[in-house]
């Protein structure tokens, strides 16, 4: 049985971080069969986090972020061609060029794309961008280098905030609009979002919260000139970036019978996809941003994560499980972890901050902009966020993994008085935000309003 699984045909749809790491891991695990990688972008796998940082700062070109291989996956690469369908019965992936790829096992790692500005004719104005791909970043970096009068960033999530940070560092005027009460509030809750707002304003960002952009305006020749806001004001700008979160690339699976929807493709802890009846498949696996998977530390709710580290960890588990029989399979139990660099601060998070009712500042203070905030839910630690205190994060990871009591016991020598005082975590309903959450709990807890069920 195990020997059979190390042979045969594996197709991976999605040639970015998760797809590449899975392909390498399959070979590492001893897979000797044929491996085909399908990617809709024409480029070999590249790294995206630098696109909103080094690339926008003008330090490195957008086309220089290719991912290094851990080992050559010895794959047949189909780049620049989109998968358009999946026939789970005949076990074939259909490509946009008409080719049909047979498989014995399939890994879906199609990830997400940037949520576009909803009005297509306004989104098409020259100077209006989203930021997800190498081309997006190259175009935006070129505009920033040209010295626009002002940049408008719609959405105060991580991507929007990093773009605003890069603009300020380049000396550009920038306006950020966010429908919620503060930037990053959807990911970090109320207290840290106030720090994020203060950092933006201290660094000269024109931050407008509690407003939406109602229209993007052009000059009649198709060039973006500014935007109207819901409070009646107008922002004059040469460049606009819609940083509205991500859309999962699941449309190609509409007729596949898989449990694929706006929150991603549901899979079990072993990365095996569910079909629409909730029956687990055994030949279709999912990894990366496009997956939704249950996590025991968060009430077995399904997690949708847009995290670099999750793409890597889940790809490795999926690859292992694709070439190993049942009893040897592993669960994907890695804790969600992410980072963001903005306005000179290094923000790192472990666990699920939105799965919380209270927070304490366990180390440091808001004033010194160096702190560790611990999040608790019903008396246990569920997440921690550090600001310029990354070395402390491992300690809190251990507290989360062991379901330690909240508030956490004294331990740190720099424990402030605030560590005695839990505050409400103040996590808003994601419906009220401009930016999509990068962590979404998609199960149901009656006392939380975190589930958004929207037919598309």
């Amino acid at each position: 049985m195990a020997a059979d699984l190390r042979e045969g045909r594996i197709v991976i749809v999605g040639a970015s971080l998760a797809g590449l790491r899975a392909a390498e891991a399959l070979r590492e695990e001893g897979f000797t069969g044929s491996l085909t990688m399908v990617g809709d972008e024409p480029h070999p796998p590249y790294d995206r986090p630098p696109l909103s940082k080094q690339v926008l700062l003008g330090q490195v070109p957008a086309d220089s972020t290719a991912l290094p291989m851990r080992r050559d996956p010895d794959a047949d690469w189909r780049l620049g061609v989109r998968a358009t369908g999946l026939d789970p019965l005949k076990k074939r992936v259909v490509l946009a060029d008409g080719e049909s790829l047979p498989f014995d096992r399939l890994l879906i790692a199609t990830g997400t794309r940037a949520r576009p500005w909803p009005k297509a004719e306004e989104a098409a104005l020259d100077g209006v961008f989203t930021l997800r791909t190498r081309e997006d970043a190259a175009g935006l970096a070129e505009r920033l280098a040209a010295g626009p009068r002002r940049v408008l960033v719609i959405g105060g999530g991580f991507t929007g905030s990093e773009i605003a940070s890069a603009c300020r560092e380049r000396g550009l005027d920038v306006t950020v609009t966010e429908r919620g009460p503060a930037p990053l509030v959807g990911a970090l809750g109320g207290t840290l979002s106030k720090l994020a707002a203060a950092m933006q304003r201290n660094n000269g960002v024109d931050l407008r919260c509690g407003v939406t952009v109602t229209a993007l305006r052009g000059d009649g020749n198709g060039r973006f000139t500014g935007a109207d806001l819901s409070d009646g004001s107008r922002v004059e700008a040469d460049v606009c970036v819609a940083a509205l979160g991500a859309v999962r690339n699941v449309e190609w699976l509409a007729d596949s019978g898989l449990a694929a929807g706006p929150r991603g493709i549901a899979c079990d802890a072993g990365c095996r996809a569910f079909d629409m009846y909730g029956i687990v498949t055994d030949d279709v696996f999912v990894a990366g941003d496009v997956s939704r998977f249950p996590h025991p530390l968060f009430g077995y709710q399904m997690l949708s994560l847009e995290h670099w580290g999750n793409a890597v960890a889940q790809a490795e588990v999926a690859a292992h499980n694709m070439v190993n029989p049942g009893p040897l399979r592993r669960p994907h139990l890695a804790l969600p972890t992410f980072w963001s660099a903005q306005f000179g601060l290094n923000i790192k998070s472990v666990g699920v901050p939105t799965f919380s009712d209270h927070v304490v500042i366990a180390q440091g203070t808001l004033e010194e902009r160096r702190l560790a905030m611990v999040y608790g839910y019903q008396g246990r630690v569920t997440a921690a966020v550090t600001v310029d205190m990354a070395k402390s994060l491992d300690y809190y990871t251990h507290l989360i993994e062991t379901a330690a009591p909240f508030p956490p016991a004294p331990g740190a020598s720099d424990r402030p008085l605030a560590a005695e005082i839990p505050l409400p975590s103040d996590v808003p309903d994601p419906k009220a935000l401009s930016h999509g959450p990068t962590v979404a709990l998609t199960g149901h807890l009656p006392d939380r309003r975190l589930t958004v069920v929207q037919p598309t």
């Binding site: 070999p44 630098p50 047949d76």
Partner: protein, 69 residues
């Protein structure tokens, strides 16, 4: 050669910044920015940086060449 730094693992020890300052820079107190495409004359320094990283967060390798099969 290309590098990628696992910044979920990076804790800002900055050994790489000392060993290969043209490739790795701190941004603020502990945020790391780096040049993903390693210039040839920096390769040896980057190898040392990858070896010295206390949390082994630096991966150095070739990029995929799709025609390679």
């Amino acid at each position: 050669m290309q590098i990628v730094v696992d910044l979920t693992r990076c804790q800002g020890y900055a050994q790489c910044v000392f060993l290969a300052p043209e490739v790795f820079q701190l941004h603020g107190q502990e945020g790391l920015l780096y040049t993903p495409a390693v210039p040839d004359d920096q390769l040896e320094r980057v190898r040392q940086a990858a070896a010295a990283c206390p949390v082994q967060a630096i991966l150095l390798g070739k990029e995929v060449s799709p025609g390679g099969r």
